[in-house]
Symmetry: C2
Subunit: 256 residues, 2 copies
């Protein structure tokens, strides 16, 4: 099973990085070999896994734009079967640099080819935009996991994102499907959350994971310790919900 | 007093749009003439002020890339002295289109010149990135308001943003200063919020507004009604905190 998964949503702050880190960690803990690729110039997945900003000199930018091989850039994390290709600050320049490059949407897909077989899952964290970095991830991916807050602006952006996925499927990557929509930071006491959740489940029935991630401050604390939630506080509701997500994700992904 | 203010932070979901809408509305309610420019292709400030997605055919993209004048694109909102230049979906293509244009960082500054005198404040909502759209806003601006959640990833991104503001000040726009840092979605019960707030106030002392915006679900509900919080629920803590912010903002802005 070698599956390449993009964690994408152009809406900011919906839990992309948190989902990329904690889904990857939960899959690794269940014995899968996982590679996390940080495609966001902010580098949150990199620091959230214990590689502080500025401590890394080479990352995905060097493979995308400087001809380095991904194999040389993989860094092992605290979990024995979780590796990460970090993001460095110069990734911010990649979007402009890639504009004039041949096969610019295919750069990531091309550089991942030599390493994909070594992992059960490659998981890519995307920046909050639909620019060339996210397009590269969607072109390289077999499937997309879409984290989403149950709020109005996040709901509004979903149709835009679905249209972009459809376009990438039609013109760049015919394998691309929506793996699932994950509801994050859920506070089921508010009517707003209930309304938006109801709307998403009725519109995208079957695509929305049964597992939802509750708002849980331990999840927000973990990155400052450079750890996924299952290492920072395995007994927290946050950790348990990401473990449940990993189970549901595997049941779907391995059934396909 | 004609002041151009960018609401910027490349970290996603920190309350940029919410602050742009509600600060602009609170200033308009206190009698100032305000123009809100939506520079985010997501168009959240546009729909949050009552112009549903798809209902607008022309916006800031047409002034940036198609030679239309900003004056023709201003739309009046429910508040008598608040206008908006909306964002349309084609704004997403502007970043790539602007890459090869002469004075690409100055496009917005140039097109705003004929209208600035008609307003006390021009407020620009920025997308969650440091690409050409945000750079255009920083180049056009007199000052930047930085909304920030009291969380680890938001704190991490702050030094990056400050460095970018410094670079724009040095190479593109010597007027540019940080107007203020606004702490948003504050939940003072958590130690994470207390720690991050303490760190921001000690590092950037004097730049951080005394007013903070609490997490308040009424703020998140208002955009689905296309209204700023002071029209949706003037008695809410959210509305009162943005009104207090407008007072503090005016005291600082008019003292300078
Ligand atoms: N379930 C949760 N409970 C509490 N806090 C959360 C939860 N999920 C994420 N967070 C926090 O919310 C903030 C936004 O999450 P995150 O950074 O993962 O979103 P993102 O979509 O990756 O953001 P960006 O668009 O900037 O890349 C972070 O500070 C994170 O720690
Ligand atoms: N003080 C608050 N209390 C509760 N919810 C809030 C508050 N401020 C913002 N929100 C909600 O949090 C979400 C993120 O806020 P918003 O969209 O304004 O952030 P942003 O920085 O503009 O995001 P983006 O990076 O995508 O442009 C929205 O759903 C908004 O309604
Ligand atoms: Mg992220
Ligand atoms: Mg916004």
């Amino acid at each position: 099973m070698n599956k390449i998964i993009a964690i994408a949503n152009q809406k900011g702050g919906v839990g992309k990085t948190t989902t990329a880190i904690n889904l990857a960690a939960s899959l690794a803990q269940s014995g899968r070999r996982v590679l996390l690729v940080d495609m966001d110039p902010q580098g949150n997945a990199t620091s959230g896994l214990g590689f502080p900003r500025g401590s890394i000199t080479e990352g995905i930018y060097d493979a995308l734009c400087r001809g380095r091989s991904v194999r040389e850039l993989c860094q092992l994390t605290e979990l024995p079967t979780l590796w990460v290709v970090p993001a460095t600050a110069d990734l911010a320049g990649a979007e402009v640099e890639l504009v004039t490059v041949e096969r610019r949407e295919w750069r990531l897909a091309d550089i991942l080819v030599p390493v994909v077989d070594r992992y059960d899952f490659v998981i890519m964290d995307c920046p909050p935009s639909l620019g060339l970095l996210t397009l590269n991830a969607l072109t390289a991916a077999d499937a997309v996991v879409i984290p989403m807050q149950c709020e109005y602006f996040a709901l509004e952006g979903l149709s835009n994102l679905m249209a972009t996925i459809e376009q990438v499927h039609a013109s760049l990557n015919p394998r691309l499907v929506v793996e699932g929509i994950l509801l994050t930071m859920v506070d089921s006491r508010t009517t707003l959350t209930q309304q938006v959740e109801g709307e998403v489940r009725s519109h995208f029935d079957g695509k929305v994971y049964a597992t939802t991630i509750p708002r849980n401050v331990r999840i927000a604390e973990a990155p400052s310790h450079g750890q996924p939630i299952l290492l920072y506080d395995a007994s927290s509701r946050g950790s348990q919900s990401y473990q449940a997500l990993a189970k549901e994700f595997l049941a779907r992904a391995e059934a396909a």
